[in-house]
């Protein structure tokens, strides 16, 4: 049996600090919040986008529109797989034309999700710019995509799985990496995390 190997990368405080720092960096780069809109990629990117909007409101006193986006219809492998993804709603209830769009996701990996998201945003209109904010950048890019704002850079092997768990969906705040060779499903890892079996180093 493969030995369980889950490393904790960020805890609740680390995640909160990273989101505050990203919020400050976004404001600094864009000289304020007037032209900003946030679009979070479902599921956890959307939760992070809402938190960034809350932090920016605390700092600048400005409420930034937040949109949600499901990118599955724009995936380049959507009909080459037998499994159909469950499509969720895309809700961008504001005009992106001439705005600085901050695209938010939890983990940046190959870049294909971001490619799909860029295509979709452009279908809504022509923004002034699109900037990318991610909580975790784990490398292994397959497309020339680079984030503008990063919570934490984490070197991983390609077979590792980085899992972000947030209070809104998962009832806990943690980022873990399940090391390669481990064949557990995300739900099994979640169960192991709940039972306190956290192996590895922080």
């Amino acid at each position: 049996m493969t030995k369980e190997k889950i490393e904790t990368l960020m805890d609740e405080k680390d995640i909160a600090r990273a989101i505050i720092r990203i919020s400050h960096e976004i404001l600094e780069k864009n000289s304020g919040a007037e032209t900003l809109v946030l679009i979070g990629i479902l599921n956890r990117g959307a939760d992070i986008a809402k938190r960034v909007a809350d932090r920016i409101k605390e700092i600048e006193g400005i409420e930034i529109p937040v949109g949600l986006m499901d990118i599955n219809l724009y995936r380049d492998d959507v009909h080459s797989k037998l499994d159909q993804p469950v499509i969720q709603r895309t809700e961008i209830l504001f005009d992106v034309v001439d705005r600085n769009v901050i695209l938010v996701d939890d983990v940046l990996f190959t870049g294909r999700t971001i490619r799909a998201a860029l295509d979709q945003i452009i279908d809504f209109g022509r923004p002034r710019s699109i900037q990318l904010a991610v909580l975790i950048d784990r490398g292994h890019r397959e497309l020339p995509i680079r984030p503008d704002f990063v919570g934490k850079n984490i070197p991983t092997s390609k077979d590792d799985r980085v899992l972000v768990r947030l209070m809104e969906k998962d009832g806990q705040e943690i980022v873990v990496v399940a090391k390669s060779g481990m064949k557990k499903s995300p739900s099994e890892i979640k169960k192991a995390l709940k039972s306190g079996k956290k192996g590895g180093k922080k």
Binding site: D70, L73, Y74, V78, H79, S80, K81, L82, D83, Q84, V86, I87, Q88, R89, T90, E91, D119, Q120, D123, F124, G125
Partner: protein, 309 residues
């Protein structure tokens, strides 16, 4: 949750979970057709054949637009200008077109069972766009989608299907779909336009419209299929209108938040008056818009499926 079959032949065997999946997915596509750019790249590289052996405006255009908005390549087939005129069989026609590498076939035919037949002689995903008097599943799905958007549910709603029950494939698909989703369904029409052993549908049966619609939430009015009325199944259009026409006076019998539906094309002044068809509670044009979203959902959900599970 996934659809069990790689084809959509009808709703008779569809489960509530499958219908819910299609309707939920259609919500996403409804949002897409409201966008400035009403197109997603989802079915890029997929080729869809629209095989319409019967005249159709709404369904054909709706499917074509749905396919184009999903970025599929489309081919439309018209029997009047094809080798069908030279006596080529349906099987040969489809197999020859499929040899040109078709992935999906949307078929309408005057004979019941043609979509099933195509599943036996081709590899493509088959979508039934109406087969004889059998089923018209995407119409029933769009009807259910329209009702669900208004009432936020289908369960326990009272839906009355009025008109030519005997010849209507829309009625059959609606009965099976609505019953599966927990709605209370009734049919109403002249006894000559009720099918043999209509009681086997397991719905309330009426030949008196006023009794049928008393307390109903939704009235879905079927077209009197004048092209199928050669046998004189009712004495005159005027008598039909008096007994089964949906008029403003009859609206008073319905529940307060009622809905009027019609799959079209409408025979204005026959099965429905102008003021009812164009009234505030009529969702006839909404049905047409929703049809595109539902067809996009069906095409999307079937497109990735190569094998039966």
């Amino acid at each position: 949750m996934q659809l069990r079959s790689r084809h959509l032949l009808g709703l008779e065997d569809a489960t509530a979970e499958e219908i819910t999946l299609i309707l939920d997915t259609a919500e996403t596509f409804r949002e897409i057709i409201e966008r400035p750019i009403k197109k997603v790249p989802t079915l890029r590289g997929i080729t869809v054949l629209n095989l319409f052996y019967e005249p159709s405006t709404r369904t054909r255009i709706s499917f074509e637009l749905a396919e184009k908005r999903l970025s599929a390549d489309t081919v439309s087939f018209t029997p009047g200008t094809s080798s069908v005129k030279k006596g080529e069989s349906l099987r040969d026609t489809v197999q020859n077109i499929e040899a040109m590498k078709i992935d999906m076939v949307v078929v309408r035919h005057s004979s019941s069972g043609v979509p099933y037949f195509l599943t036996q002689c081709t590899q493509s995903n088959i979508i039934n766009a109406g087969d004889g008097a059998h089923e018209h599943p995407t119409q029933a799905l769009l009807d259910m989608f329209t009702i669900r958007r208004k009432y936020k549910k289908l369960k326990d709603l009272r839906v009355v299907l009025v008109g030519d029950i005997k010849h209507s494939r829309v009625v059959r698909s609606n009965i099976w779909g609505l019953k599966t989703m927990g709605a209370s369904v009734a049919v109403c029409g002249p006894s000559t336009l009720l099918p043999f052993e209509v009681e086997k549908f397991g719905v309330d049966i009426f030949t008196d419209l006023d009794k049928a619609i008393d307390g109903a939430d939704v009235v879905n009015i079927m077209r009197i299929q004048l092209e199928r009325q050669q046998a004189g199944l009712f004495p005159s259009q005027r008598e039909y209108t008096n007994l089964f026409g949906m008029t403003r006076e009859r609206l008073q019998l319905l529940n307060k938040n009622y809905t009027i539906m019609h799959p079209g094309p409408i025979n204005r002044g026959v099965e429905i008056t102008n003021e009812v068809a164009d009234g505030d509670s009529s969702v006839i044009l909404e049905q047409v818009t929703n049809g595109q979203a539902v067809r996009m959902a069906v095409l999307f959900l079937l497109s990735g499926k190569k094998e039966e599970e």
